[in-house]
Structures are given as C-alpha cells and as structure tokens.
C-alpha cells in the first residue's frame, strides 16, 4: 500500500520533472523565437547569411528530405521487421545477426553517416550534394529505429491471432495485413514518429550530403539546406544569427507537431475503421 503511494508520488514527480525541464527548454525557444516569426519569415528566402530574410526554401528542402527518407526507410524497415518477427525464429543465427547489426547501425555517429553518405551516395552513386543523397542517408540512419519498434509491436501482437488465422488456412501475409499489423499499429506509429523526429533533428549527416545551398530546390537532385543545418550554421557560424536560429528551431518544432498530428489522426481513423478495440 505504502509502496503504491510512494510509487504514485514518485511517478508524478518524475513526470513533473521531465515536463518541467522540457517546458523550460520549449519556453526558451518560444520566447526568443516568437518575435521574429511571421508569414514573411516562413515564405521568404534567407538574406545576409540568414541573419535577415526568412526560411521559405529551407522549409521546402527539409520536407523533401524527410519525404525521401521516410518513403525509403518505412517500407524497408517494416519489411525487415516483419521478416524478423514473423519469419525468423527469435534465436536463429540469421535473426541475431540482423538484429545485432541493426543495433550497431543505431550506434553509428551521425557524422560518420554524413561522411559515408557523402562518399557513397554523393560521389560513388554520383548523386552529388542533393536532397536525394541527404534523404537516403537519413533513411539509413532511421532504419534501426523503425525496425526495432515495428518488430516489438509485432511480437506483442497476440499469438492467438497467428494460430487462428493459420488454422483457417490463411496465408501468413493475410494474417499480417489484417490482424497483426493493425494490432501493432501503435508501435508502428511510435516508431515512425521517432524516426521522423530523428530525421528532422539531424544535422551532421546532412551537412555532407544534402548540403548548404539555401536556394529553393528545382528537383531532388538539387542541393538543399535542411532546417537543422540552418540552425547549426546560424548559431555556431554566423555572428548575430541567434535570433533567427531560435525562430527556425521554433518552426522546426511546429512542423514536427503538425506532422505528428496528421499522422496520428490518420492512424486513428484507420484503426477505427478496423475496429481494433471494443
């Protein structure tokens, strides 16, 4: 009983601590970033190395890079997760090998991803500094996150569904699509959100791949500066860039918020249609 009270207190305390620190951080960004925020800031191109002007082209580049990363990584990640959890014995050599190499991939520093992406996508595959190179590099980066979360979600799906579907002569793919993936949907979504977050937040890997050019990209093969690179440049490399660095950070967070909201409501509708819960 006292343990319960203690735990309740502690959990509320920790949650308060966590949200306290984060509210502190967010309000700092808000206070410093809000004054410069305007429609013009969102629409215009940066001027004077970003000290003035806006971040319009940078937002576009960011979204394009994100799109490339997710469109590549999500199917690849989901497929690998399905293979690992549905078609591979948990303790098989193959499964372990893939899992361990994914864990290693998760620990590769982003700057190494950047250098690798530069060497492989930009130079070896001849994509040059481009949104495509950046997106593909990010895809490699978020892959472990997507796979691990999806795999955990699938493993947590009730085994009864697998047995019942098999007993009805349904192929595993059908059980997967109709029963297991929907019941793993919350985990898939959480993984996707984590991946999107990680991709949006990435700096080092993008400096070397998608580049520094702050012009509006004409195609995926153009170089385009991501928001996080812009923030890095303004705060570390450009004297007098702090104010706009804060505003750009604010915009990044807002973008993330919007993406999360859309993803969440889509997922909810989808789940509702499938009547997963009572």
């Amino acid at each position: 009983m006292t343990k319960n009270v203690l735990a309740t207190g502690l959990i509320w305390l920790m949650a308060a601590l966590v949200s306290g620190v984060f509210v502190w951080l967010l309000s700092d960004i808000l206070i410093h970033g809000l004054p410069q925020l305007s429609w013009a800031f969102l629409a215009e191109a940066p001027e004077n190395s970003g000290r003035s002007g806006g971040i319009g082209p940078i937002i576009v580049s960011t979204l394009l890079i994100l799109l490339v990363a997710m469109v590549t990584a999500a199917p690849l990640g989901l497929a690998t997760a399905v293979l690992l959890s549905e078609f591979t014995r948990y303790d098989s050599i193959f499964g372990r090998l893939v899992r361990r190499s994914l864990d290693v991939l998760a620990g590769v520093p982003s700057i190494v991803f950047g250098l690798f992406g530069n060497a492989f996508f930009c130079i070896y595959l001849g994509l040059g500094f481009s949104i495509l190179s950046g997106g593909l590099t990010l895809a490699c980066m978020v892959l472990p996150i997507l796979i691990r979360t999806a795999e955990e979600g699938l493993q947590a799906a009730p085994n009864d569904y697998r047995l019942a579907a098999a007993a009805l002569g349904m192929p595993r793919s059908a059980a997967l699509v109709h029963l297991l993936l929907p019941s793993a949907a919350p985990a898939l979504l959480a993984g996707l959100m984590l991946g999107v977050g990680r991709a949006m937040a990435e700096t080092a890997a993008l400096i070397f791949t998608s580049g520094y050019v702050d012009r509006l990209p004409n195609s995926l093969l153009d170089s385009g500066r991501a928001l996080s690179v812009h923030i890095y440049d303004l705060s570390m490399n450009v004297a007098g860039g702090d104010a706009n660095a804060y505003s750009s950070a604010l915009v990044l967070i807002l973008l993330l918020f919007i993406i999360n909201t859309i993803a969440m409501s889509l997922a909810k509708q989808w789940l509702y249609r499938r009547v997963v819960s009572i």
Binding site: R89, Y90, D160, Y161, R162, L163, A164, A165, A166, A167, L168, G169, M170, P171, A174, H178, L179, P182, S183, R274, V275, V276, S277, I278
Partner: protein, 285 residues
C-alpha cells in the same frame, strides 16, 4: 502443389444446408481418412506424446478424451500442421491424410488447413467486425462477390444459432460478444470454409447448455458429410455424439499416450483397459 479445389458456388450452397439430425453413433463407412502411425511429439526436450497410432474414419465423429495435459491438443495440432507454428516442436512418426503424407515438407499447408479446420479451446475472434470475421478467410480463399459473402455469412451464423442474436449488429466488433457468442462465431467462421475435416478442441467448454446443445446438434448434422475429431471433457457429450473414441493418459508424469481406441460404445460400455474403465465411470460429467 495447391490442393485447394476451386470454389464453385453450387458446392458451397449445397453443403451449407445441412441435412436433418442423424440417428446416432453407429457408423457409416469405415474408410480411414487420416492414418496416424507411431506419432511422437516433443516440445523442446519435453515429450508430450509417445507412439500414438490411430485411424480417423471418414464421415465419422471421433471423440478424444483424457485428463488435462495428456496431449489431446497437441495431437490435434499435428493433424493440421499447427505444430509448424510452435518453435522447438518436433514430430516424428507417420501421418497420412487421404493417402498423402501429412508431414511432407513440400505440402501446401494452407490448402491442408482449409481442408482440415480447427476450433480452439479459447475462442479467438479477430479484432474486427462480426461480418469481417467470417468474410476475411473467405476472401483469402478467393470468394469476393459481396452477395455470395453475405449469403454464406447468414447461413453459417444460422447454423451456429447466432444469426438472430447478432443480425442487427454485424458491423460491430466481435470482441464485444459474450464468451459463448464468440465461440459460436469461431465455429461459424470455420464452417464457412467448408472443410473436409473439423478438429474441435473442447468447442463447447465455453458455451451455456442451450448453445452447447445447438453446437452439439450441429456437429451431429456434420456427420457423414464432414469428418469430425472432437476433444471434450464432457463424457456424456462424447458418448452421445461420437462414433469412435480414443482415451489418452499421461504415463509417469511424462509423455501422453493413447491407452485405448475403438467404437464409442465399446470404450464407454466395455473398456478393455482398466485405466479407461476407471476414467469413464469414475469421473463426474
């Protein structure tokens, strides 16, 4: 490789309409549909079944009885290869279905499972609407016309006596049904596929007497057209419906084995083995 017969509507309709209740135990044509020879089954290192040999006769109802943990569920799992889904489960011995080797690695397992349906002890409705629960496997097996699906859904739900209870809420979640309703839904779902053999693992244990009666009648009406293997703890029920009965037992806390198999009447009225005699007489139904 694919042994599933193409679905043709006439066959479907013809056989969803079951005949009237048949007389009772004394059987039909004693042609073995499934032959099990020296079956042994291990989970990891733990043996669960040892040297089980028996024949399942076509068109007959075979009841399997025995105490908890003696391997009845494991035995059923071998017959439709559900054992494939359990890691570390090793099966040895010979099992033939319709003359074909059931343990052939190259066998089309989905086709097999369509031919040999299974009902579980715990009902497992899918987290979908009631209608989708029945339609999903049908669509998977190539039936996609909505009118046809509707017909089948209504027929099988009527067969299990659920139609009147749920006809107004076919679109609501199957998880909101009561335990008994869920189990009947699962039976309906399996019947919709028109299997040749139906494996039932205590299908009535979650049902009230009325629906249990409904299902029992249903099983009786399956006789002749379908081959049924039923595990039940209800000895009276086994006695009422089965043509053949098999009695499993666990020897020395180790593996389960088949003690006696024979005509239902013989097992219940003139058991050869003393363990069987003790079991069928001593336990309360």
């Amino acid at each position: 490789m694919n042994e599933i017969e193409p679905v043709d509507k006439t066959r479907m309709n013809e056989s969803y309409t079951l005949g009237p209740l048949q007389a009772g135990p004394p059987c039909c044509d004693p042609e073995p549909l499934i032959r099990v020879d020296n079956l042994t089954l291990h989970y990891r290192k733990k043996p669960a079944l040892e040297n089980v040999s028996l024949d399942i006769y076509k068109g007959c109802i075979t009841a399997l009885i025995g105490p908890s943990g003696c391997g009845k569920t494991s035995f059923l799992s071998v017959l439709n290869r559900m054992t494939d889904m359990i890691p570390d489960c090793r099966v040895s011995g010979k099992v033939h279905f319709n003359g074909k080797d059931l343990r052939d690695p190259a066998l089309n397992v989905q086709g097999l499972r369509r031919d040999i349906g299974m009902i579980f002890q715990k009902p497992v409705p899918f987290p979908l609407s009631i209608r989708r629960n029945i339609e999903l496997p049908l669509r998977e097996h190539g039936i996609s016309k909505q009118a046809e699906l509707n017909d089948i859904t209504q027929l099988v739900l009527q067969d299990v006596g659920l139609w009147d209870e749920v006809k107004g809420r076919l679109e609501s979640s199957a998880l909101a049904l009561s335990g008994g309703q869920q189990q009947r839904l699962c039976i309906a779902r399996a019947l919709a596929l028109k299997p040749k053999v139906l494996l039932m693992d205590e299908p009535c244990s979650a049902l009230d007497p009325i629906s249990s009666g409904v299902v029992e009648d249903l099983i009786q009406r399956l006789r002749g057209k379908y081959t049924v293997v039923i595990v039940t703890h209800n000895l009276a029920q086994a006695r009422r419906i089965a043509n053949y009965a098999g009695f499993f037992w666990i020897k020395d806390q180790r593996a389960g084995c088949l003690i006696e198999f024979g005509q239902c009447k013989q097992i219940f009225e003139a058991p050869v083995h003393e363990l069987t005699a003790a079991y069928v007489s001593g336990s309360r139904g």
